[in-house]
């Protein structure tokens, strides 16, 4: 299931609903992405992030996320897939994204969840603008995200 929304979500309630009922599920893997309150990676990036705004491309977002879900279901035996991604203004500490997968086997659950996040990062049409003490700036795409996504490309 794909949900693209401005509203916040409740990860606990989502997890409770997600893992309920299917007796063939042996493992659930979930990833929750949050807005950090600092620019952690770049040297010299001392400005505090007060929040960010996520812009997206309505229509294409849902289309690309559905394609990524289909790809994951094609690669691993999954009983359930959930992707929730927010857009709009998000303050430090806010939830951005939740991905969860359920499989009979833990390895499939882990790998597919990891895959979904990596591919989502490089294929879903979202763009972040960070609101820092030093002003607003569009976040640049990271090479490391491309590398993380590339490892899932079939040889």
């Amino acid at each position: 299931m794909i949900r693209v929304q401005a509203d916040d979500f409740d990860p606990g309630a989502e997890l409770a609903a997600f893992s309920a009922g299917n007796g063939k599920v042996g493992g659930v893997c979930m990833f929750l992405g949050l807005v950090r309150d600092y620019l952690g990676d770049e040297p010299g990036a001392a400005a505090n992030v007060r929040g960010m705004t996520l812009e997206h491309y309505p229509g294409m977002t849902e289309r690309q996320l559905a394609a990524i879900e289909a790809e994951a279901r094609d690669r691993w035996p999954l009983h359930e897939v959930l992707i929730i991604h927010r857009y709009g203004r998000l303050e430090a500490g806010a939830r951005i994204v939740l991905v969860a997968t359920a499989s009979s086997h833990r390895e499939a659950a882990f790998q597919s969840c990891h895959f979904l996040m990596d591919w989502l990062k490089t294929k879903a049409p979202f763009w972040k603008i960070e609101h820092t003490d030093g002003g607003d700036q569009w976040v640049a795409a990271k090479d490391q995200d491309d590398c993380a996504a590339d490892r899932w490309n079939k040889k």
Binding site: G33, H56, Y57, V97, L120, F126, W127, W138
Partner: protein, 83 residues
């Protein structure tokens, strides 16, 4: 055809959306970009470095040589940064 701009491209072009009717001979995304660059300084600046621009036709990622047709929705944007 309908052209969409997202993220910093929207600001550089000066608008998020425009309807255009390119002249005959504009049959690929690449030739469309060359023509769009003539429309304003903002357009020219937005497309100055195509290594930082991605394009989707009808909501699917495509390459610069992808064909375009009347009625297409063509979107330009930077590499994505969601998740």
């Amino acid at each position: 055809m309908n052209i969409l701009y997202f993220a910093w491209l929207r600001g550089t072009v000066g608008q998020g959306e425009e309807r255009v009717t390119p002249p005959a001979g504009i049959t690929t995304v690449g030739s469309l970009v060359a023509w769009l660059k003539t429309r304003s300084d903002g357009h020219a600046l937005a497309f100055a470095d195509l290594t930082v621009v991605r394009v989707a036709v009808n909501q699917d990622y495509v390459g610069w040589d992808h064909p375009i047709a009347t009625g297409d929705e063509i979107a330009f944007f930077p590499p994505v940064t969601g998740g």
